[in-house]
């Protein structure tokens, strides 16, 4: 077992970043569906055994377990188990390795691909209870996203009502691919619950929609699909701006995870321009989209993509130092050298990126 992670663990090497670190995206994995049995009624355990229900299908299609980006080789458990599946592993490889002040856990397990509505709700409840028992209650540094069965809006609301007041949950995970664009009014009861519990909406990679992930059907290659997922994020942010989510919910907070930030200035400029030309068609959007982004939305450093550090610094300058939060995206494996990235930033930006922006946004 090793903690070496080129480009990431060097953050804390001598001469590196010595200030506080808040890591807003640490992924954890449910080892197997049997792990969740203690958090279900006997009837559901029988249901699962009798029907041979396993890990929800999109866990493997969104993250094929041997794809290049899913786990850094040094983070694969020596016993062949699932990466990032126990607190001990995560402490050694992530929390202690870059000495976090706080870390936010995201457990993407493909619940969006469970079509049986009651089973989906059951699994979501079990995952949230498992996160409380096995993670949040055992390490004060941890916070987490709660998961919801998003195909049934009322069940998503009920799950937020059930556990949303737990002090460990700071966010609701909403995968970027959904059956409807996130601005649509059907989602608003979910947003009522998110806002009422003072939670953040965390838009993550993955999810299951009612069609392919691009406007032109299914990509063939995983790399192509991964790169093009940027387009779904663009659609979702455009939708939430256009439909007036941020006017209806003045305190709404949206964290956009797993997709970096290099692409955001270009989108903000286009939205501003289109808004100038078309605001009469969406009159409730009463301020420039870039202002909405700055007031309500934050992005993360992960992945840095293969942009030269000086260009990443330029994107950050265009976007604003307050807009980006450090995320390791543990245990995923992306290129990107955080030391060189930090070195390319103005000194004023470094503490904001590494901790201050997240502390303020998530109220940690």
């Amino acid at each position: 077992m090793s903690v070496s992670a080129p480009g990431l663990t060097e953050i804390r090497a001598p001469g590196g970043w010595a200030g506080p670190v808040i890591d807003v995206d640490v992924h954890v994995h449910v080892p197997s569906i049997q792990t969740l049995f203690p958090y279900m009624q006997q009837g559901w355990r029988d249901f699962i055994v009798e029907r041979a229900v396993g890990t929800p299908p999109s866990f493997a299609t969104v993250y094929p377990q041997n794809a290049g980006n899913v786990v850094r080789p040094e983070w694969r458990p020596e016993n062949g188990g699932l990466a990032a599946s126990s607190l001990e592993l995560v402490r050694e490889q992530a929390l202690d390795a870059w000495a976090v002040e706080r870390a936010i856990l995201n457990c993407y397990w493909g619940i969006d691909s469970v079509r049986h509505p009651d089973l989906a709700a059951t699994i979501a409840r079990a995952v949230n209870d498992w996160l409380i028992d096995e993670w949040l209650d055992r390490d004060d540094r941890l916070r987490a996203s709660l998961v919801v069965p998003a195909h049934t809006f009322a069940d998503a609301v009920a799950e937020i009502e059930r556990v949303g007041s737990h002090p460990g949950f700071v966010q609701v995970m909403m995968p970027v691919r959904a059956m409807q664009t996130y601005g649509r009014r059907n989602w608003w009861p979910v947003y009522d619950a998110i806002v009422a519990h003072d939670l953040v909406m965390g838009m993550t990679w993955g999810g299951t929609s009612e069609g392919p992930p691009t406007p032109s059907g299914w990509p063939s290659y995983y790399a192509e699909e991964w790169a093009g997922e940027q387009g779904v994020f663009m659609s979702q942010l455009t939708s939430m701006v256009a439909e007036g989510v941020f006017q209806r919910y003045p305190t709404f907070r949206l964290a956009v995870l797993d997709i970096g930030f290099n692409w955001v200035p270009s989108l903000m400029w286009r939205l501003n321009k289109e808004w100038k030309g078309l605001r009469r068609t969406i009159p409730w959007v009463n301020e420039a989209p870039s202002q909405i982004f700055r007031d309500h939305i934050r992005f993360t450093t992960a992945p840095l993509d293969a942009a030269p550090p000086s260009e990443s610094a330029r994107f950050l300058r265009w976007l604003g130092e307050e807009m980006v939060m450090f995320a390791s995206d543990y245990p995923h494996a992306y290129p990107g050298d955080y030391r060189r990235f930090l070195d390319a930033l103005p000194e004023s930006a470094r503490p904001k990126i590494m901790a201050d922006n997240a502390r303020a946004f998530y109220r940690l």
Binding site: R177, G183, P215, S220, A227, T238, S239, S266, A306, E311
Partner: protein
Amino acid sequence: MTTVALDASTPATRQPVTLIDVDSHNIPGPSSLLPYLEPQWLEYLQHYGVRSRHEADIQPVLRPLACRADSVPPSGFPGSDPRFSQAQLLDEYGIDISVLNNILGQINFPGGNQPVPFSAGLQRANNDWAMYEWFTSDPRWRSSICVTFEEPDLAVQEIVRCTDMSDRFVSILVSTRTQKPFGNPKYEPLFEVASQLGLPITFHPGGTAMNNSTGSGMPSYYFENHSTYPLGTLTAIASLIFEGVLDRWPGLRFVAIEAGWSWAAPFAWRLNAAADTEVVEASRLQRKPSEYFADHFWFTTQPIEEPEDPAWFVEAYDQFAGLGLAENIMYSSDYPHWDFDSPRTAIPKALPDTARQALFCDNAARFYGFGAAGTDRR
């Protein structure tokens, strides 16, 4: 609002060529195509109409077909009158060459839900309309070829027919929303004919393709559709690279209309990250993803990027040019649409003269083979 004098006609191409517009639109009016349809499809049209699925966006108020309010000619249908467009676009702005992209020809072919031979007949009519009413009215018009791109073999026949008719058909028109990402093997006949004829393939936003326009369902507002025009191009670029199309057809060239360009550099770096990470898939490629851009992808100016701080425009241009793309950006007007970019005012004056000369004339002259900059060999 410009005043259009229909009796003032200046059909001669000015020399030297100084201003090329790579995207204007001719839009057939209700009766424009009737003379060019075969009798059986004329009868079919009269009984069933064009039923192809096209989302009925609520258009901006007072903007028929999303066109400028002053672009409606006396005949009543914007983009349908060659002499009106000539006066309002070419004469007014001193445009020497303009490439027509027939919007209805592009979006009315969804790849399904109407008889394929009917679609092919409509596309032949669209192209004949350009040939016999636009090319003959003014030597400055060029046109993309309307094709049944979801039926590539039929499309190839039409491409060959058009290029045999006139060398003023200068590219193949495809929607950004295709049935499958455009690098899919399904489209190989198009890559083959484009390579053989040296014709670029033009992506224009729109179409339906039987897919939703986002990866999470359909949007509600025109604003959303219009803001996310880059999406289909992102998808196509990722697909063309990772499917190996650009390795097998190294001469293929694509031009993205109305998609912007400030996203190209960050997206190229994202594609590089994907290749660095997914080495099993990327080992099939001959180059790093970003290295394909300069040889294969061209971008157009309209709607011109407007960074929050105008000083960032030149920074963004330099970043784009730094990827080797200084020759890969071309002025486009998008006439007669409501968001038309005037060549007089749209491009920031802060851009250096060499870059302005390149995007207003030289790049397009080279790209379309209009001859050396400053001449029109046709």
